[in-house]
Amino acid sequence: MLHSERRSLIRFLVIYLTSTFLLFSIASWVYYTSSKHHLLDKQRELLKYEAQQIQSQLRILHRSEAKKLIYPKIKQVDSAIYDLDKHYIFGTYTPPISLEKRHDKKRLFHLVRIEPYYLGAAYLLVSRPIDFAPIEQLQKHILLFMALAGILFSILGYFLGKLFIEPMRNAMKQMNRFIQDTTHELNTPISTILANIEMIETFGKCKESRAELDRISIASRTLSRIYEDLTYLNLNHDYHRTVVSVNMCELIEERLNYFSAMIEAKKLEIDTDIHTDITLSIDRNDAIRLIDNLLSNAIKYNRIHGNLFLEITQNMFLLRDTGIGIAPKDLTTVLQRFKRANSSEGGFGIGLDIVDQIVRYYGFEFQMTSKENEGTEVIVIWKK
């Protein structure tokens, strides 16, 4: 699975599962609250029956002629009687402050109106401890249901996600295949052109058309680099890197030489501060793509007779040009694929994306500062 596909799938799953979870949580909460009330109501029905028993005993007590009246008591049930003004008369427990309370955290309450007022009682408040066993059972059932629903919807979401990204995957496959075919078809003519230019240069033929030959050479090398970039992007996900110790000084000299025709065409002045024997553990092709894309931009967007400054130390590589620069608003997005801050020159906007990928892969740090119409400075730091 491609990185972008995985990212899309993860995003889809996160949104899908979060919304499903929220929906189920709300539904479960509503169900739990209603079922809990139902369970409490069932327990309250029992309490009502017990209240009736106490009420009938109050009637008997009221008629009793005994000197001492034993207040009725039922196991686990507490009760208290109140007069018409809701003042406490007598009871088996300390009554709550509010008579209207239906339940608290531990107990259920039931208030009964009594008439006539046996023993002066106009209200009877009965209370019993809440039986938490069925409520805990209900909680367990809901949690189990949520867990099972979570598993089921995760599996469903995964397959749905795969189903949804299938068209995107096919489109990407087709595009990759097209790029692969195109680049493959481009490779042979470009190589032929470059080989022939080298032969002409080697054998000193066609001296009178030197300028035209140089332009053909530049155009062919540009094409060749685009081919290399496209191949790199296309194979990036399954590209096997061979990390070796690369002499960066030699590599930069080699790449400057590669771009010499473009540099000459722009009549750029090159200043370098290159320390000797600087090596870096990197795949050689990655290093070439990194240097080439930065150099190519610095040359392409530089002005005629501009300046190009290169510095390479043990820790970093710095490249400064005197080109058109990048607007501040574009500085943050310029690393994205197909993003182009300026369309004055040719290209697909994939160069800095490749740079960004390489920098992130090796854990380097990339800094870019720019001022419009003054120039751009890029720094790649590989050792801290």
């Binding site: 009246l69 034993i70 003004d85 046996y118 002066g120």
Partner: protein, 122 residues
Amino acid sequence: MEKIILIGFYLLNSSLSAQEVHTVENTLEKDCLSCHREQQIPSSLLYKRYLMTYSTKARMEEAMFDYLKDPKKENSIMPSQFFLKFPMKKRSLLDNATLHKDIQNYLKEFDIRKKLLIFNSQ
């Protein structure tokens, strides 16, 4: 010497308080209960009738006062048939304050709270 005076003062005070309680009881006894007993009117049953009808002390006191000041079938706690057999009580000649005091003492005397208790099996 001071101790003797203090003890003397305490004894005098205690005797006065006891006498006051005794006087209050005597007033209730004299003004109400003695007559009730004589006419075989069960005071505790009357109290229960009032209690069952009016519930609170304040309401009971008000109802008793109204009846004693102006006894008639409408404000009596007894059913109307009762008066077919027994004559209507004469209105009380006691002054309002005394009558209130007597009623309060009556309610205190027969207060249902005093009779109620919780039976603990343990």
